[in-house]
Amino acid sequence: MPRGLVSGDTRDGFAAHLEWERALFDARYAVVSWPEEYGGRDASAMEWLIFEEEYYRAGGPQRVTQNGIFLLAPTVFEFGTKEQQDRILPRMAAAEDLWCQGWSEPNAGSDLAGIQSKAVRDEQAGGWRLTGQKTWTTRGGFCTHLFGLFRSDPEADRHRGLTYFLVPLDAPGVTVRGFGRLDGDEGFAEVFLDDVFVPDGDVLGDVHQGWGVAMATTSAERGLTLRSPGRFMATAARLVDLYKTRGADDPRLADEVVHAFIDAEAYRWQTFLTVTRMTDGENLGAESSLTKVFWSDLDVRMHEVAMEILGAEFDHDDSDWLKGYQFALSGPIYAGTNEIQRNVIAERVLGLPRQ
């Protein structure tokens, strides 16, 4: 297990993380829940949770391949042709192709259906020409491929007329400009597309049906696959350790630490319940929004408690809490802000009327 890696959201750190990702792949631990033919172990969902718990308990680093293996891959399994699966998945698992997400645009964030980047049909060449701008693309500056939504039918309704494309970032007409996140790392990128040709074979799902295909991905992102309980249990355990070594009998802080620990346990057992229901064939749909609000708020709170325990030391903290806090603050924003998630919970879980 590599220790003390520089953040994978920097150029140097990303390269170091790739070595780790390839070591994981060689040991067939990169994508344990995938079929064996694509580099996995056919692990069940419950086995995958166990793997995740052990990975983070052992201090395993962030997965810089996550947007491919956890977000795009489930969509490829569900909507991809056999040819696409055979072509895309093995290279993704081996961290040869590195995927970033092309959802947001300057004028389409929470209102994802407002995207304006266009796909124009090129019948003669047998494909599409993409023009527009994507932004907030995590690790876009270091990745090789982008998956994203483009407006293929400007006449159709907002949610119709979108198509899901797979785009190599070295294609002619693509420009990627990295820029800094809150913590200063170059983790973000803008991706400009100027008449970029994409062949029909790189359309995922049906033409003009991209919204439904994309929702499968965002549901995975909000829910289980992106943020398994193992991550938060590991943070809660680190918080307990921090309190024990620095806390010195402060009952209020002790109570905060315990509260966070119980919440992490709650997330773990809610996940066991959820995975059992999924295994039984239930479709959970919008319920993943419940999970996203809970883990993102919990992650922020755990870091705030650590901040209090560390006191002034937090300012020059070398134990990852400072870095972790800045990352945790993105949780309530990305993958659909928590405000959007609460709307989804109210409308699609509780059945309240739309605005």
């Binding site: 295994t279 809970f294 405000e339 609460r342 109210a346 509780l350």
Partner: protein, 312 residues
């Protein structure tokens, strides 16, 4: 691992749910406040007949936890947890519905549903003791925020049995677990009532449930429910398995369930507006039960402190 209930456990829950929907509507709960119900104990005897009250003699906590949750949903005005969860395993000879046990961990010997019981389990010098009807000198009625609880201080002259420290701890855990399950039921009830209300109630020409401010209140309550419930089921399961950490699991469950119920009570009241603040409307029957139960068998701070002793 499968973390789910068996078909039998779900069927037991469904039977109890149907019974309580029929026999224990809000009007029945309200009649317990005044004590003028014509057939005041019909729900108790129906639960006895269904096998709920003596269930722990044959079955384990995980087999009854969903039924206990339903008695919370219906705010049954009877000492279900005190009798079935706390009392019966200690007093296995009285399960035939002829007797009613109440119990409490209150240091001043305040027990709920006092006028319905003939067996009292009290916490005296950190041990549970049994006081029978003959040992009671007086029941001094005490106004409880939840009038259906009919609380009283037990003044007694004679103790029949003193239970061991271990028996006391286990009984306390069962009380906290059962109460946590009832709090989950109450949370669901208050949420259901409020969702229905905000769909119907119109202001500014639209249902108030279409406003984001209202939606976000109720989404927060739904989240609290979502994450409290599995901890209650986990504690029921580990208790049934004799897991040595079950007591810590119960504490996690009670802390989360109490918080979920209190949060949901606030959100429910706020989203109802003035109607929820009126005595004639039924919300307060459930809200006040939630307040009482959040404090019973250890409140959230008490249980977090217990967890803290285990992990810090």
């Amino acid at each position: 691992m499968r973390f789910a209930f068996t078909d039998e456990q779900l069927a037991f829950r469904d039977a109890a749910r149907d019974l309580l929907a029929r026999e224990c509507p809000p009007s029945y709960v309200r009649s317990a406040w005044t004590g003028d119900g014509v057939d005041a104990r019909k729900v108790w005897f129906a639960l006895a007949e269904m096998g709920v009250l003596g269930a722990l003699l044959e079955a384990s906590a995980v087999d009854v936890i969903l039924v206990i949750e339903e008695t919370g949903y219906a705010a049954v005005p009877e000492p279900v947890v005190e009798h079935a969860m706390v009392g019966v395993p200690l007093l296995p000879d009285i399960i035939d519905g002829q007797h009613t046990i109440t119990a409490s961990d209150d240091p001043k010997c305040v027990v709920p549903f006092a006028d319905r019981a003939d067996r009292f389990l009290l916490l005296v010098d950190k041990r549970l003791v049994l006081v029978g009807q003959q040992g009671v000198v007086a029941l001094d009625n005490l106004e409880s925020v939840d009038g259906a609880r009919r609380s009283a201080i037990v003044d007694y002259s004679r103790v029949e049995t003193q239970f061991s420290e271990r028996e006391t701890t286990q009984a306390f855990d069962r009380g906290a677990l059962g109460t946590a399950a009832q709090l989950i039921g109450l949370t669901r009830r208050m949420l259901d009532m409020t969702v229905e209300y905000v769909k119907e109630r119109q202001q500014f020409g639209v249902p108030i449930g279409s406003f984001q401010a209202v939606k976000h209140h109720l989404a927060d309550a739904r989240i609290a429910l979502e994450f409290a419930r599995p901890l209650v089921y986990r504690a029921a399961w580990t208790m049934s398995e004799g897991d040595p950490d079950a007591s810590v699991h119960v504490s996690m469950a009670k802390a989360m369930a109490g918080n979920a119920a209190l949060l949901t009570a606030r959100k429910a009241l706020q989203c109802h507006g003035a109607i929820g603040y009126s005595y004639e409307y039924d919300l307060h029957l459930f809200m006040k039960r939630a307040w009482a139960l959040a404090a019973a068998w250890g409140d959230a701070a008490f249980h977090r402190a217990s967890v803290g002793r285990a992990i810090l």
